[in-house]
């Protein structure tokens, strides 16, 4: 089976770099499965887990928010404001963030930045989701 290289980059560091058989990501238009030799593509990503299928049925899940994906030849690059491997996520903090965001959304303050709270909630849910199955 042919392979492709995958790289996940944030402003702070390169989170993951390696070979993969398939990458599954949620683009703004819907889920995308990228196999080797995909045509060049650029798309923004939703706040969602990105699944990277590795050699021998192993799967790596990365929590990606605020990112986009570039596919070029046999190289997939995911550029994101934050990207975390499940092991790097602080579950307690994510839980707190979730509660905080939920509280904010329920209060419905007129001057509150609803979009921001919504995003914060999405991020927290994503982190919890990704850590659930390790």
């Amino acid at each position: 089976m042919s392979k492709m290289t995958v790289e996940v980059v944030t402003p702070e560091r390169v989170v993951y770099s390696g070979e993969a058989n398939m990458v599954i990501a949620r683009g703004v238009e819907g889920d995308l499965g990228i196999l080797p030799n995909h045509m060049p593509l650029v798309t923004p990503l939703k706040i969602a887990p990105v699944r990277i299928k590795l050699e021998g049925d192993k799967e790596l899940v990365i929590a990606v928010s605020g990112g986009f994906m570039e596919v070029r030849g046999d190289k997939v690059t995911i550029i994101a404001e934050s990207a975390e491997l499940p092991g790097d996520i602080d579950v307690e903090r994510a839980k707190q963030a979730k509660e905080r965001a939920e509280k904010r959304l329920n209060e419905k303050h007129p001057d509150l930045d609803m979009i921001r709270a919504q995003r914060a909630l999405e991020r927290a849910l994503l982190r919890l989701d990704v850590t659930k199955n390790i």
């Binding site: 980059v9 944030t10 402003p11 702070e12 560091r13 390169v14 683009g27 703004v28 238009e29 995308l32 045509m39 060049p40 593509l41 650029v42 798309t43 923004p44 605020g66 986009f68 570039e70 070029r72 690059t77 550029i79 404001e81 934050s82």
Partner: protein, 288 residues
């Protein structure tokens, strides 16, 4: 005479203490400089990638229109000024602030024409005290700031531009050239100059989902924020460079001073001894 000697001895001791501190600070700054440079280096792939994609969109598709790429008549200008939280870094903050206020004085007649975003306690205190229109500030950035730390200012600035509340955005920071040379620079961030050019040799025809325009609309603000972030990292490195130099100089000066005082001290001591001898001799002579 004896008092002069004691005074000198005390000074020598005090300068020695100072030298010890400046020497330690220099070494700490050197270590932190290295780390800051590494962080700045680590941020580069991200910025490069975004730039690559943007320029390939810009070169691949003609007439792409986005407000962030177009100049419009300037009614109000935004400045992001990056300073440090702490001093003891020579002219690091003073040079930056001076450059900013001369630019502002040249370009604007009234305070309605510009607004300032400031990072760092030194800059914040300065602009606040003098009643400059500071709209947002970040102080107490950690040693190696994360993207999220800086995002508050970068996205606010970019958003103000998108809402046409400001028509230009400048970023003012100390550009890191080497450990001994940092240059205060003011560059225009928005509207973005054509980012095209560099990547043209390896042009790829991408498929854009949902469309080139929409991808661009997501990427351009990100790009602007990335530039702010990397400027912050750059000026962090500059800060430690400046501090290292300043503390190095201070240590050298202290060494000089100790040398001078020691010379004076020895002279005074010798003079006192000479005087004492001549007094004894004079006394002995008088007795005889």
């Amino acid at each position: 005479m004896a008092k002069g000697i004691r005074e000198l001895r005390r000074r020598i001791k005090s300068v020695k203490n100072t030298r010890q501190i400046t020497k330690a600070m220099k070494m700490v700054a050197a270590a932190k400089l290295r780390r800051a440079q590494e962080t700045a280096e680590a941020a580069r792939p991200y910025a490069r990638k975004i730039q690559e994609v943007i320029s390939s969109i810009a070169s691949g598709t003609t007439n792409v229109k986005h407000p962030m790429l177009q100049s419009r008549p300037v009614k109000k200008t935004g400045y992001i000024v990056i300073t440090s939280d702490r001093g003891l870094a020579g002219g690091y903050n003073a040079n930056m602030i001076r450059k900013v206020i001369t630019t502002i004085a040249e370009k604007h007649k009234s305070q309605d024409e510009y607004t300032i975003f400031v990072i760092g306690r030194k800059g914040r205190d300065y602009f606040r005290k003098r009643n400059y229109p500071v709209i947002q500030e970040i102080i107490g950035l950690p040693e190696s700031p994360t993207f999220a730390d800086v995002k508050k200012i970068s996205s606010a600035a970019v958003q103000l531009f998108a809402e046409e509340k400001i028509d230009e955005l400048y970023i003012c920071y100390n550009e890191f050239q080497s450990a001994i040379s940092q240059v205060p620079t003011i560059t225009r961030l928005l509207p973005l100059d054509a980012v095209a050019g560099e990547a043209s040799d390896r042009k790829v025809n991408y498929e854009y989902e949902p469309s080139a325009e929409e991808v661009l609309a997501v990427l351009l603000p990100k790009y602007a924020e990335t530039i702010v972030y990397s400027s912050v990292l750059d000026s962090k490195a500059s800060f430690y460079g400046a501090q290292m130099t300043a503390m190095g100089n201070a240590t050298d000066n202290a060494t000089d001073m100790i040398g001078r005082y020691t010379l004076q001290y020895n002279r005074a001591r010798q003079a006192a001894i000479t005087q004492e001898i001549s007094e004894i001799v004079a006394g002995a002579n008088a007795q005889a």
